[in-house]
Amino acid sequence: MTQPPPVLENEFETEDIFVNMGPQHPSTHGVFRMVLTIDGELITDVTPYVGYMHRGAEKLCETMDYRQGIGYMDRTEYLANFNAELSYVMAVERLAELEVPERATWIRMILCELNRLSSHFMFLGAFGTDVGVFGTAFVYGFRNREVIQDLFEEITGDRLMFAYFRAGGLAWEVPDNFETRVREVLKDSREGLRELDGLMTQNEIFRARTEGVGVITAEDAIDWGTSGPTLRASGVPMDIRRDEPYLFYDQVDFDVITGDHGDVFDRFYGRIREASESIKIIEQCLERLEPGPIVPDRLPRMLRTPAGEVYTRTEAPRGEYGIYLVSKGGNRPHRLKIRSACLSNLQALRDMTIGGYVADAVVILGSLDIVLCEVDR
């Protein structure tokens, strides 16, 4: 039954309309769906729907042993795989009380920061498209990411699903020319950052589109449980790498990038600056890298953990990626819960979007830099 048309009284009556954005929409970054209620071009309400990509990764991991689970971590957070793997193996290591050799830790750090770099490149590109640069930012971002991806492939053998970290260390040694290659990639990345920065940051139209849009105050950002660049853009200097150092982050020197206004531009620019910080960190790590073992001396063939529970978190490019792991002994988790940064960040979407324009919704969603696979798991 179609609804009867609204009765027009004396005055001209108007009606809000619903626009279904997604799950198949060019700029919802996957299968995210939001229903916009719009009054002309103004958004009066947003209802986000998630879950189209739910594959039960957490439950799946409970059916397999600790090594097999690593591959699934890659598939939850496919733009920052190393960070996701790291959270997981750190949880297992803490449960099993494994000591990670120094060299492995430094390499992990380098790879995680490189991954942050590549993830931010991806963000810059995708965000450019959201703002409306006809594919240019996207292609630039992708090209720069590709260089890093090539390096990952040389190290791990795969472009995306690395499955390279193991509880206790790394799957295998990095290639001999690792250091020179990383330096090459860094050089290229620095150039690439400059290119993307030049393309967008100072452009007046770009600023007009992003400044003062999608503002979220520090209090709200904390209340919604956001983390990572989204939270830092609101001026909250929270960075797990510094507040609760894991790996050797307490031994390197880097700045925590915060913004002042909590708007889309701060979230964008914060990521550009964060990427340069990553380059700084990697360079320090390279200095400290020394030959040595990459796995502990005595590593059992089949890893078993004592009963217990542990929560580990790492600073992934999108925020806090946490793993809550409960073990009842044996070789597989009893319960695994992934604390997804994107899901929490996405909560804040409604607050940011209402009152803005339709075009803003796209930009705000882009600035959250969500990975739907991680949101839905």
Binding site: G157, A163, L199, Q202
Partner: protein, 157 residues
Amino acid sequence: MKGVLKSLGATANAFVRRPVTRQYPEMHRDLPERDRAFPILLWDDDIDEPYCTGCHACERACPVECMTVLMKDNPNHESVGGDSRRRKIIDKFWIDYARCMRCNICVEVCNFEAIAMNNTWTGHEVSVYDRADLVMDLPQLLAQHRAGELDEWVADI
């Protein structure tokens, strides 16, 4: 206005530089030796039989259960007058490439170094019209290494 001009400059800069496109089907990029496509079985040229003994280790370790291994007595074993020292050998082997998640675990658990990740382009270009064609059987899995078209990479830890 200045920023707009700067943006135009950035694209102009890209315009005069060389495109980075690689034209894929004609021009294959060199794959690194560690490249992981799909797992394949290796062929022992000295004795002319597969390395694989059908020990089921990989089958059990595979996270997605995409392997099926059947073992048999080796007809070429020393005890029956052959020249192989493998008492058991692989009889039938299937890997469902459609399910494999290329995690490398099967390679890690194999005690006989009988399985390796394909690091050639042949391993990547496996598109077919029917999913059933992606279930590789023993001859298909062995073919590439047997023909000497593969230089497998062995991880050193």
